[in-house]
Symmetry: C2
Subunit: 391 residues, 2 copies
């Protein structure tokens, strides 16, 4: 980070480790707010490196590269949760301001740590256990039934690192790594929800409306904001839980809390259990770019700088965000031209990434009053860009 790129007037430089689409989508609000980003990118053509002037190349486990990078930044935050703990410890020893802090981040890096802590706090979770071999997994299944959801505590997202186990013996290969795994009951859920919360080092918090996340084959394909027909008590309980988790874990920046909506067996009322935490901007919050007064990306920048948080109210009755996955078109531009023509109100967000089948390469957002129509518009555009609709 050269000081030549710093905006005059005392404005800070925010360092982001990781040059993916989340870092990329921080650039528009940084431009507006006169904040300078510096992004440590995996490669010169990383999504964020294409749009941020200061984008040195360095890997997430290269401690010297990261220390040098951090020395030019006023605060450091993250595009992903994959920076090793020893690297974070080195930065901490250097006195680098990191948000979220390693102490908070570990709950998003390690699902066993997260489950232990949430359970301790009394936050509803699926039944779970740490299991170290097939016998322990079988014991868990004997109590909670099959299938069991088996997760590697670290490194998994979007279905990677997660397996549905119908016979405990099938998991023998994962136990061969001799690391304890997380076993969870297969929750009988009504639907999947998510809520984004922001919290600043001063302790200010803000929570966006709870959304419904539609998953296909373990990948989020669509987000509806707010979640339709959400029970008022449940909305309140989820909001309170998100703020409590953020506060108790001392989260700084934004955090996504992914949830299952379930029916309480005793009362028959809707309630929730927490599925996952992510301490960074998250796919379930992409709708906020177009649909909220303050986007999750702007809010993350404000929070990590301990600036006052922005208003999180929705700008339309409904916002639908639909993910665009890589499909048939390698040359996306002609398809993109078509969808711009077909739907002038569609907001297109592409990440500058090469197309690979199933890779998240962008999203589209529509806002308005007719939810069914919005969903159809989003789905058409995403399908068209993926090459699965030919008209």
């Amino acid at each position: 980070m050269t000081d030549a790129l710093r905006a005059p007037g005392g404005f800070p430089v925010v360092g982001i480790i990781g040059g993916g689409q989340l870092a990329r989508m921080c650039q528009p609000p940084a431009v507006a707010l006169s904040l300078t980003l510096s992004v440590l990118s995996e490669s010169p053509d990383a999504a964020a490196a294409l749009v941020v002037p200061s984008a040195p190349v360095g890997q997430k486990d290269d401690v010297e590269a990261i220390r040098a990078f951090a020395s030019g930044c006023d605060v450091v935050t993250f595009d992903h949760e994959l920076v090793p703990l020893d690297v974070l410890a080195a930065l901490e020893a250097d006195g680098v301001k990191m948000h979220p802090s390693p102490k908070a981040l570990v709950h998003a890096q390690d699902k066993l740590v997260m489950r232990r802590r949430l359970t301790q706090l009394g936050i509803p979770c699926p039944a779970w256990a740490q299991v170290s071999d097939v016998a322990e997994l079988k014991a868990f299944a004997d109590v909670h039934g099959l299938p069991v959801i088996l997760k590697t505590p670290r490194g998994g997202y979007d279905g990677r690192g997660v397996r549905v186990i119908h016979d405990p013996r099938d998991a023998a290969d994962w136990f061969a790594h001799r690391e304890p795994l997380l076993a969870e009951e297969a929750v009988d859920f009504t639907r999947e929800l998510a809520v984004m919360v922001a919290r600043s080092p001063s302790g200010q918090g803000a929570v966006w409306p709870v959304v419904h996340t539609v998953q296909t084959d373990g990948i989020c394909t669509e987000v509806i904001a707010p979640a339709p027909d959400l029970d008022g008590d449940l909305q309140g309980a989820v909001t309170q839980a998100a703020l409590r988790i953020a506060g108790e874990l001392d989260v700084t920046g934004v955090m996504a809390v992914e949830l299952f909506e379930v029916q309480d067996r005793a009362s028959g009322r809707p309630t929730f259990v927490v599925n996952e935490l992510a301490m960074r901007p998250h796919n379930s919050g992409h709708w906020t770019i177009d649909g909220s007064v303050t986007s999750q990306f702007e809010q993350h920048l404000r929070a990590v700088l301990d600036l006052p948080l922005g208003e999180v109210t929705a700008r339309a009755p409904w916002t639908v965000m639909t993910n665009v996955l890589g499909g048939d078109y390698l040359e996306l531009y002609p398809a993109y031209r078509h969808i711009l023509a077909r739907d002038p109100g569609l907001k297109v967000h592409l990440y500058g990434k090469g197309v690979r089948p199933g890779r998240k390469i962008g999203h589209v957002t529509v806002c308005g009053g007719d939810l069914d129509a919005l969903r159809a518009r989003g789905a058409h555009a995403a399908d068209y860009l993926q090459g699965t609709v030919k008209e």
Copy 2:
């Protein structure tokens, strides 16, 4: 422009000559749309150079620098109207795609050419004449009264290049340059209006709602969208005039048409005369970033690439944009922190420019239903950043 910065998938590179705030504010929509900007900047710390990776330094009259720059771009557009005609001619000879074209742009570069053309088209203008000496100016004043508004045909904006003449003899110094000047009647206007129109090379057009521009000492300080209590026939007539001008002049990209609202002497009905044209994103359109489904900056990029235009409807009943001028604070960051705390719904846009008294360094936008409250919020924030409010 190195091809390494081009997004994969067939997406084009848009070159912008001039690295001011208008080029800078093109970067957020370019990020979303996966378009790559390359900005020929006046200096390495120009407003746009701080936020765009490809920002070579070059001056607007350096024909070889501009030719080299343009050779790496798929299309070239402008941050300002100051590129000399011979430079534009050289680019045209090279086969560079320019939007707007030099043939259109001359109407925004030369106010005499503009007046001649609009008058020929029957678009209402103030009474005007080309004047070459004090005697001709006096003859104009004898017919149209004093004061007369005297303008240099080229290079003027925001009050520069414009004088109010109460005695024709006072203008003798300007005639010493031996260039003809534009004399215009001092219009007895009700208020100042503006309308932004976008037009693509294919001929698609889109017009945002007509806005009221509040001017203080010849500088636009506030824009109210839409213009309050605007007569419906006048809205229609202004919209039609904007589309007609754009079509007849073959404008490509966005154009601001600044207008005076006047009372028709015969009918007593409100009508308009055209004051100025600007063929680029314009201060009167900054409200569209937060207040319209498609901002003027996104639309300009779409238009110059001949992509389908986006929807131009307003996202709230009212949007108020208030300019932030340089004032007492050189270190703006503490004041900025205060206004973020005081008004979480305020959208702040700063241009990364050093503070100089009276210089436009940013703007703030608020959207909502209570116009008086919005205007007060915008004015407070702008005044505070300028150091003229101490609470």
